[in-house]
């Protein structure tokens, strides 16, 4: 393997492929992370689109930040980054739901 390492290019594997490996019990109807209503997303909120390791945050056509917590690994990074700006409601899923690591 002698190819030069491309700098920050499109990840080799789409995030969906990665998350497919994981074991996840969806608590349908009870998302454990919610983005509070906003017209203009704060800088911190926009950061979540890149920083979330499971790619749960995206920007909708109307320019608002949306979250789909399926595949969330409950790391807490988004809660910490938006702690001051208070953009999201973050909780653990109900006991037994959410990600369930096979190896960890």
């Amino acid at each position: 393997m002698t190819t030069k390492t491309p700098n920050g290019t499109e990840p080799a594997q789409k995030i969906e492929e990665k998350l497919y490996q994981n074991r996840y019990l969806v608590d349908s109807g009870r998302p454990h992370v919610k983005v509070k209503d906003h017209t203009e997303p704060t800088a911190e909120l926009k950061m979540l689109v890149n920083v979330c390791p499971a790619g749960c945050y995206s920007i909708s056509e109307q320019g608002k930040v949306e979250v789909v917590p399926d595949g969330c690994m409950e790391c807490g990074t988004c809660r910490i980054i938006t702690a001051e700006s208070g953009d999201i409601e973050w909780n653990y899923p109900r006991g037994g739901y959410g990600v369930s690591f096979k190896f960890g």
Partner: protein, 365 residues
């Protein structure tokens, strides 16, 4: 009420799983197919099994027989003719008013009696709700082997049935033998075996079999039957035709095009997971890993990218038609027919085309 069976001692030695057929089973011969006949119609899976049964019978050099039970004798004779034209050599017919609607007790008693009387070596049933309900109790009564949901049947060189079926939810396949008991029973999934061509004019023998059934002995009563066609609930798991929408529809209003096409085709409609998350449709319409797994004849995916979580829920469909504006969408990797176009435009055109062809004039939607 048949008394619970006294368990007969298991036959043959277990060392090394060798196949030694006990004496009393040596006389079991011929291949049977249980024909599902309800509401005046033969379930297509029974005809598929006659095609498969013909192949097995020819390999064994034995006859292929059908077994059918019901209330209306003329209807049953018509079924026998249909069976002959699909390869059966003879059909056992059991006509009795008590057998009008399928009930486990009387049908188990009839099939058990037929098997104990005429001794088939192989007995095939459709892996339908009826077939599985019946096969389970008959196999236990006969204390014989039953392999469920087979996708492939072969005869090995010891003239035994090698039944291949999925296990662990379809991730793996396994081949199973019924070692030392007869008949070798198996249920087969609908639309897995090919429908044999009809041979008009082919004839065969009908054997009427009388059973002594008394209605007061039978405790289970059928009160009512509601056909799927008339019920409004989503029957995605059982529908033959499914039309589904994804984010490619761009807005919830465009789901009406999906519903319109599904209605014209007499099928059901659903969607991929993101639509549930965005609240465009209820969760019971979701198709995929965390939703329903569907096995329709025809599946039309409109504006669905086809991520792996969706693929595992639809891979069992016979024909997958994918419409997506992105030529690189993963769905084109496993669909049979692909159309790189905007589903919101193509769906109405498709609905009109089918409506004209089927000259269906009622309002879709």
């Amino acid at each position: 009420m048949t008394t619970p069976p006294k368990p007969a001692p298991a036959a043959g030695s277990r060392a090394g799983m060798k196949k030694e057929l006990p004496e009393r089973f040596k006389s079991y011969q011929h291949v049977w197919v249980f024909i599902e006949y309800e509401h005046g119609e033969i379930n297509p899976v029974s005809l598929e099994l006659l095609g498969e049964g013909r192949k097995l019978a020819d390999k064994l050099g034995v006859e292929l027989a059908g077994a059918v039970a019901g209330a209306n004798r003329e209807g049953l004779h018509a079924v026998a003719v249909e069976a002959f034209e699909h390869g059966a050599d003879l059909v056992y017919v059991v006509a009795d008013p008590i057998l009008e609607h399928y009930r486990n007790e009387p049908f188990s008693q009839v099939l058990t009696e037929l098997v104990n009387t005429y001794k088939p070596e192989v007995l095939l049933l459709g892996a339908t709700v009826l077939g599985r309900d019946l096969a389970g109790s008959v196999a236990t009564t006969l204390l014989t082997g039953l392999t469920a949901d087979c996708t492939e049947l072969e005869i090995d060189d010891d003239r035994c049935l090698a039944a291949t079926r999925p296990t662990f939810g379809g991730s793996l396949l396994c081949t199973i033998f019924t070692l030392n008991t007869r008949p070798q029973m198996a249920t087969i999934r609908p639309r897995v075996m090919a429908l044999p061509p009809r041979q008009p004019g082919r004839t065969g023998r009908i054997i009427e079999h009388k059973v002594s059934l008394r209605e007061d002995d039978i405790v289970t009563k059928v009160l009512r039957f509601v056909a799927d066609r008339d019920s409004s609930k989503a029957q995605l798991a059982y529908a033959d035709i499914v039309v589904a929408g994804g984010l490619g529809l761009r807005s919830p209003e465009n789901l009406q095009h999906v519903r319109a096409l599904a209605t014209v085709l007499g099928g059901d409609w659903g969607g991929s997971r993101p639509l549930v998350q965005k609240g465009w449709m209820p969760a019971d319409r979701q198709i995929g890993q965390t939703g329903k797994t569907i096995r329709p004849k025809l599946y039309i995916a409109a504006g669905i990218s086809g991520a792996i979580q969706h693929r595992v829920g639809v891979e069992g469909a016979d024909l997958i038609v994918a419409i997506n504006t992105d030529p690189r969408a993963p769905i084109f990797d496993f669909a049979h027919l692909g159309i790189v176009a905007d589903a919101v435009e193509l769906l109405p055109a498709l609905t009109d085309a089918f409506r004209k062809r089927l000259s269906v004039n009622r309002l879709a939607g």
